[in-house]
Symmetry: C2
Subunit: 258 residues, 2 copies
């Protein structure tokens, strides 16, 4: 296996595959010290900032190689063009990128391995129960990709590029936007001098509750009953046009979808 990238995704995948006993032959990053850092963490001897070195490694046993690209969407197409290994299987890991990114790149064996999680270098997560969505252009490759994904997770699902786009958007709401709600809550508390730690049991219970019932049924708060006296007091307290826009739009959604 070759990891192209050394960021949040690459780091988490490196740990997950190492735990599964998969040998990682090389780590690439366009910044050598990042490649080195990840290689050292997971005990990989080869690291490089030169894609030609990756091609050299691939030449040794290309047909058994898996190349996993963990890159920003904007640089993926260019990097794909630089990797020359038509026998290897090439997988990208991006939620919002179609499988068509491989078209015209001389990569007949290609696909997607998309772990549905927010990942950080600093928080290496267990992958065992993490949903991984896979896609390929043919059945034989799909079988191989499923095998690769099942080495690190018990929850492997098929998802074509259209479904994956929806997953990515759902993830924006479930993760990016709910995290932003936490951040705004903490900022609302700032003038009180209370630590934002007082929010944690509420945040934890909000997440725990949707394990037992659908989120719409778990919904509470003044927006459900459209309690205008409370809502107007809240809008006044917010005192910021963007926060008021968020408050109004989310309250409307809660009220109209109960």
């Amino acid at each position: 296996m070759i990891l192209v990238g050394s960021g949040n995704m690459a780091t988490n995948l490196a740990y997950a595959f190492r735990k599964a006993g998969v040998r990682i032959d090389c780590v690439y990053s366009h910044q050598l010290h990042h490649a080195e850092e990840l290689a050292l963490k997971v005990g990989v001897a080869c690291y490089t900032d030169d894609l030609q070195n990756v091609n050299d490694v691939l030449k040794q046993d290309s047909s058994n190689q898996v190349v996993i690209y963990c890159l920003k969407d904007s640089v993926l197409p260019e990097v794909l063009s630089c990797i020359d290994a038509p026998d290897a299987i090439h997988l990208h890991t991006a939620g919002s990128m179609g499988i068509t990114v491989f078209a015209g790149k001389n990569k007949p064996h290609c696909g997607v391995l998309y772990p549905f999680q927010t990942l950080s270098k600093e928080r290496v997560l267990p992958f065992d129960n993490l949903p991984i969505f896979i896609e390929a252009t043919n059945e034989a490759d799909l079988l191989r990709i499923r095998h690769i994904a099942e080495q690190i997770s018990t929850k492997v699902y098929l998802a074509d590029s259209e479904i994956r786009k929806r997953l990515h958007l759902a993830g924006v709401f479930a993760n990016n936007f709910s995290n932003c709600m936490y951040a705004i809550a903490a900022e609302i508390l700032e003038p009180t001098g209370l630590s934002e730690e007082v929010l944690l049991s509420l945040i934890d219970e909000t997440a725990a509750k949707v394990h037992t019932m659908p989120a719409r049924r778990a919904q509470t708060g003044p927006a459900i009953r459209y309690d205008e006296s409370i809502m107007n007091a809240h809008l006044q307290l917010l005192d910021d046009a963007n926060l008021q826009d968020i408050y109004r739009a989310v309250s409307k959604n809660i009220h109209e979808n109960q």
Copy 2:
């Protein structure tokens, strides 16, 4: 102790005080079967839908009594007017209601006991580490209220009505609005046929992450870098004016507060 109310808050407080060994003398609800249901659950002999019965119980030993009101904001003032026990201590539990609601109600010993949590009848929660915010109009009452609150929680904080209003608003974002983000995420997935369970590890990790770093630092996603090509694709996929409003307003907040 007398519990006026039998809903989510009253149910959770009843269990918490019972666990702490506090005797509950009576449960009131304007619907008798609700009062009975809660009384049976926590082993209270007296339940009623008549506030005069509550007054009768209070007459027996008023000065040692604690009356806790767990009512909708809209009915609290009226119910307070019907309870005649100037020696007892009267506590409401509402986030958005000032302590001034007791003014003119012949209740010289009054205050607030506000558990900062989303509570349901169906999910009785441990109160031990749950933040409780208290307020009183004088030091002697505050001491008594602190003692009452500390029987059920180790995390008791002072918060005047202004601070409590901010807490309530922060809770709307941290709970109501983040839950709404989960609901929207599930609805985005609906056309794919994927179970909303695939969201749970992402939701859990989002909540877990803010135990280790401030939410603003945990923020990820296309809005941070204002990736217009992804954001425009998302807006197109949302295909609903309200969801697009939410998407734009929250993305703006994320982008401008990193």
